[in-house]
Subunit: 287 residues, 4 copies
């Protein structure tokens, strides 16, 4: 599962015979050794083909342009592929957004520090000041962009500017309790991962733990998904659950839920950084 | 957890000091040895008190009337308790309803045969003939009550008559794909347990696996609940889940789901038969 | 995950560049469409390469010999591959062995009847008569081979004869409580899957639930593994667990455990029949 | 499950009729309102009775002596009870020991800061300096007691002195990789909770992840237990697991395992602080 120093190729195209042969033949001729490879076809007939290949190819960094031109010309164009290559030196620049609750944010920062998350945290942004002290102590820059009731558009403008200035190529909503507008998401044009504190599609929207308590569920959960304009409806990356019972008050559900939330978000971010997640309409392929 | 040959007392009343002392004092004076006892208060202030006590009291069967009169007079009436006593000889008479899919029905029948479910199966009823052979072979009477599109009321009349004739005091919907009317439920006046093939409240209603597939969830589940007039909204008794991924077609979700459904339903029925489930509004207390 | 009407190719060889290209190139030239493909390398350097490919190739049944000769000559021999091809018409002939407890045996027979397990059950064998009635009713031949204390060698001879006569190519120990000798396993020369009622390597050997109770574990489990001469030490195919607590007596652990055992065994058999399991020394690759 | 401002009474004695009546009668006469109560009997005949009762009794702090004398005289002595009372103001003084890996230690410190763990951390002790910076930043005193190969007895003497000086009444081994001697444990005479990075009794001792990898298990786990003289054999408080497969190298098992370890340890410490854990020989009752 670990593939330091490997390059990764992600491919997506209409399914048809010969795709694996074409890609693996190209890689073989280029001198690459395939370390790991997964493929998926969304439908046996007329489906979409998805491929993730991790391979060793010493010197690909130096020769990247040639490799990319060759692949485009010989493989991707003839088969109508959408594709992207990640070389070992391409590090993701990640911005973390949170509001008042720090468990997801601090967990990601800790995983960054220990090297478990192989990415740079270029900024932490919050609409509150509650977590400033905890983040400062870790030496990570903390930006406070308040979102007043009548100042949402302005706040989104500031946020967009900041994310662009830091060239963030992944935004993680680590319990950021503001809804991002469709216009903002379109302008940002970068993947945004959110952690929702319920087992979606149950309890989309506000106050999921209170509603789970009312409904008397015996299991609660958390869901990490890509953010789309429709609230809590984006493609799901990862979910997990925890068992609860009638003795759990809402506060207990929140406590138990925090442990699920941070693990689910971390797994989703880890898989995204590993280039294991490909969006397929309203669903994801997670290799 | 096993309490053969024990009597069980279930109590529910407004919470206030002295309830445990009152009940346990009465049992001690009656010569009973408490084997297991659970209590729950729905709210520290102004809540409802729930108690389940299992106790050894040799000869309670013979002396039941005196015990019940004494408990009513000395304990239940002064504290405004709703209560019921189950003696070791009180066996539940269970009716099982199914449609075309046999996994839940056959599982319950198998658990009955091995003695795991301590109850009598007085009838199996189905609106189809598909499972007749499988059930006949086990020596359990199979009743076919078809539910034609325009004959639902008539079918419910037949069903009600049959359940009354067999004096069923628990009805289990083991993948019975008909909605029971409020009028039927009221006339029946017995608990009805249903297994819904999703992790409620997600995917209430029809075709939950197809909708789970569309939504791209990473975990599917099943929910056993008491049936109320509102579809799939009754108090939840038990839930469980299974992990799935992008490789699972709808048929795979159904296959994986069957294993969750039958275990969740069996656990719910087992707990009900053990008098461990008390309804608390839209929720359950499961001791 | 379902691949009816697909052929499957399993490959194992020393890892080196070009293996995927060689296999997928051959399949492409043969006119096959790869539906699913997984590979694994046991070690980035000097490891073993494992591949499972499922593909559509209409008419492969008729032309099997040519396909196999071609693959052997063009791909397998040059790369030192161990391999096997399964065509859609190759049905596994499965023998089920049990002793007195029927939950695993009946579960597999039920899955066979519903078509979930795509194999033929050619014989049920037991050293006891307890389950004879349950099996007869299902129309499956039941063979009673008692294993007296001083007649183990003789019993194994009878068993071997019977399995050979029925041309069983998979033997499943569905709670068969006899240890099979190394000589028997060698003579049989067919895979044997066992379900052990603990979370191996904890509680290998006899009475695992009693020992789990003594040790006060909070989770119990079951393990399906290939049988080797060393007791409960063969390559693990699948494991799962269930949560228990201090209220569970040994009998409760057995009850809870039965549900885990039958699901774990069924999953292992299903994966084996799907050609998803490859043995790698003391471990398995499960695609 | 939360019971701030409640007192808790833990009782243990030979089982016999009248115990619940005796305790609840005393509490009622004292003016207490029972909020939560659990009992367990280790055996229906000749077993040990365990009880945990949480109750509201305003002013118990002021009148504690009278309450304790009364309970001892009227209830505990006549029934041969071992018991202890925790009043709301009795805060546990907790010492945390770690070696080089910080995930469990930092997790507990974070839970302490957020108020989830209701206890004081009086000292962090390590045999290494690796975590000093991380702990200092949080304002918690860090003590370095190295354990040279030939200086173990001396190190234990220093540790004992330090724990006594800080009046620690709970010691948590948050990945402390030194074995504490029987003499030390006896002299300390306080509960010590350890997290072991395997699903005990599998892989007791050193290098559990490497051994789990060798054995090819499909599920890994972690175990929190009270420390006794015999290594990794003390009474288990909590366990949990995570699913792994053939793609996980040892480093992946460690990564996945860290998330299980910190949650299992936190749950065990939380339950201990809530007075929910009673040792019963080699097992625990966890209410």
């Amino acid at each position: 599962m670990q593939d330091d120093h490997t390059a990764r190729l992600l491919v997506r195209c209409p399914d048809r015979p010969g795709l694996v042969a074409a890609v693996s033949g190209f890689l073989f001729r280029a001198g690459a050794n395939i370390v790991e490879s997964q493929q998926h076809s969304s439908d046996p007939v007329g489906g979409t083909f998805f491929l993730r290949t991790a391979f060793h190819l010493p010197g690909i960094g130096a020769d990247r342009d040639a490799f990319e031109r060759g692949f485009a010309h010989e493989v991707a164009e003839p088969h109508g592929m959408t594709w992207r290559l990640r070389c070992p030196e391409d590090r993701t620049r990640m911005a973390l957004l949170a509001s008042r609750e720090g468990h997801c944010l601090l967990d990601l920062l800790w995983r960054r520090r220990t090297g478990e998350l192989d990415a740079d945290v270029v900024a932490v942004v919050s609409n509150h000041r509650d977590l400033e002290g905890e983040v400062d102590v870790l030496g990570v820059p903390y930006h406070h962009i308040p979102v007043p009731r009548d100042g949402k558009a302005d706040a989104e403008r500031q946020l967009l500017e900041l994310l662009r200035a830091h060239r963030a190529d992944l935004v993680v909503l680590a319990r950021y309790m503001q809804i991002l507008s469709g216009a903002f998401l379109e302008a940002l044009d970068r993947p945004v991962i959110n952690i929702h504190h319920s087992f979606l599609p149950a309890f989309a929207g506000a106050q999921p733990y209170a509603r789970a308590h009312d409904r008397g569920v015996k299991i609660i959960g958390a869901t990490a998904h890509y953010v789309t304009e429709e609230l809590d409806a984006g493609p799901i990356i990862e979910q997990d659950v925890a068992r609860v019972d009638h003795t759990h008050a809402i506060g207990d559900l929140e406590r138990v839920g925090r442990d699920v939330e941070r693990v689910v978000l971390a797994r989703a971010v880890l898989r995204h950084l590993d280039d294991r997640v490909i969006v397929d309409g309203s669903r994801t392929v997670v290799f």
